[in-house]
Symmetry: C2
Subunit: 335 residues, 2 copies
């Protein structure tokens, strides 16, 4: 069915109907000039927005609407995870090219819901429009955090240990594999890496535990790549950092399928974006606690380096010595 057959208000009514009733703290959800919700006393409001554009952030020949919906929300949830906040409400802006069907939009929202529901996120508002060319998705996610127990990018101190959750580089190898599959059924290892790219898991419980236990002093989620996101922590905390390339955690499927020369696998883990793992600094005296906590989490945590004074800059060391600084550059949307 074409979008023009149901029209803008028909589409909005369809979205409203398909979404479960809002949580009790939503006073007014979709269907007014603005949404109204009540914050827990003593909590602060935490807000983030992420933009996903067809042919920039995703390619509809590689991703179906259901996983696209899942990923669109997951990347936002990951931002709240990196603050130690609890997600509550979302607003969505959606510009839809006329070539897309109502079924496409239904599947997209079904994907969104499949991530929103287990995390208790209500859709409270949005705006829809036609789009002349590309599909454009902007999701604003609102959450709450205990006042004084949120973790920022600033706060890392020289001498802190640097940790990451999970494994790095899987997502980039997954994207690389997707482009080469051409309809062939993936092996179990390939499937793992594809899922790591197309269906990332936001580390919400882990982020909240690190924040509420005051274990993490600075934290960020790895969306642009370890190196690039570490750079944000260093900049905001006014510190340098040392990373041991050999300690960057790699999954077994990553190690068996990464298209890198032997001994250079760490490059994919260092620069690969969209892993949505957490990177955080913690004082060394909390190492035992963190070790125990990491063992209790399926994703685990790994110590990969140390916070250094600002004038040390960011240094990556392999067994052969420090990596050439000119290699250490992030991804830029406009460059």
């Amino acid at each position: 069915m074409k979008l023009r057959e149901i029209g803008e208000f028909g589409l909005i009514a369809r979205i409203k109907k398909s979404w479960p009733p809002s949580s009790p703290r939503v006073i007014q959800g979709m269907g007014d000039d603005a949404a109204v919700s009540s914050l827990c006393p003593g909590d602060d409001l935490v807000s983030t927005v992420d933009l996903l554009i067809e042919d920039v952030h995703f390619d509809l020949s590689f991703i179906d609407p259901f996983p696209l919906g899942r990923k669109s929300l997951a990347v936002n949830l990951s931002d709240l995870a990196a603050m130690g906040a609890t997600p509550r409400w979302m607003l969505i802006s959606l510009a839809l090219p006329s070539r897309l069907s109502v079924e496409f939009v239904d599947q997209f929202f079904a994907g969104l819901r499949s991530v929103a529901e287990p995390h208790g996120v209500s859709l409270i508002g949005g705006d829809t429009s036609s789009s002349p060319d590309r599909l454009f998705i902007s999701i604003t996610l609102l959450g709450e955090g205990k006042r004084g127990a949120l973790v920022y990018r600033h706060g890392a101190k020289p001498g802190d240990d640097l940790y990451v959750t999970g494994t790095l580089g899987d997502s980039l190898v997954g994207l690389h594999l997707a482009k080469g599959l051409k309809g062939r059924a993936p092996s179990p290892e390939e499937k793992f890496l594809l899922e790591r790219h197309f269906d990332p898991t936001p580390r919400l419980e882990e982020g909240r535990a690190l924040a509420e236990g005051k274990l993490a002093r600075a934290m960020i989620d790895i969306s642009d790549g370890l190196l690039s996101d570490l750079g944000h922590i260093c900049e905001e905390s006014r510190v340098g950092a040392l990373i041991w390339a050999g300690r960057i955690p790699q999954s077994a499927p990553f190690r068996s399928l990464v298209p890198a020369s032997p001994g250079e696998e760490w490059k994919w883990a260092l620069k690969g974006g969209e892993d949505y793992e957490l990177l955080f600094s913690a004082p060394p005296e909390r190492a035992d606690e963190l070790g125990a906590l990491g063992k209790s989490w399926p994703c685990g945590i790994t110590r990969i380096g140390r916070v250094e004074p600002l004038n040390h800059g960011v240094v990556v060391r392999t067994e052969k010595g420090p990596v050439d600084p000119s290699y250490l550059k992030g991804y830029d949307h406009f460059a």
Copy 2:
């Protein structure tokens, strides 16, 4: 200067630098995974999002980046005005085609700031990206409202009077004029109508006064046209309505320049979108208070009709009798 010369992080740094320091209630503004802000005790969070797409909502051959920035925020402010809420914080998603210059983006943000500052709105977050074709702007506006003193689309009761602020139809005539100007300098009347289209005034103080004085029982801002937005109040309040076409307030420049047959000017005022005036219902016993309040406002208020029982539907009356119901249809983005 091209966007690629300063890059994504350069652009973000430039935006951060150009924006005034955040208000005291912003704990963490731009530059982290998410923004953190604290709500006034006893207030509820009010959130809205608006999407503006090049060649759908605006045409860069008719609007410069500075007024585009102003209008992008004004339309959101108008939504909070219609709730009786106070705007506080904004997040912006911006997808920028590479043909646009850094100066364009600077001017756009200067326009945004020129509206944000007098209303006390801080920019607390956002996401930027390149765009393959069109400029996409999505602004999420967050505000606060006194618990129990916000006004919704539901709440209108049969017997209520219907009022609007300001005059209607100016914006549509302004848009019509813009397309015909072709570089010619506008007359003062034309200038008034062009400004009504390109630089609308959100009725924030008026909305707040109506809400806090518990004068309005249901309220909406007129973005899609009086008829279409009245339809939302009727739907959410489960009521009908009667509008006297001859009472719809028209400005003198509108009356002198509207390209309608004599006696049919009301059609432009009834269906014209983007006036961003407030439409509200109020119990008749508050008419004197409302009259006095309207006299104290430069925009004024006008009683244009009455709320009727649901089964009466929406009726528009001219001196000649009721308007043909088939004429009474709103604008649809996908139709």
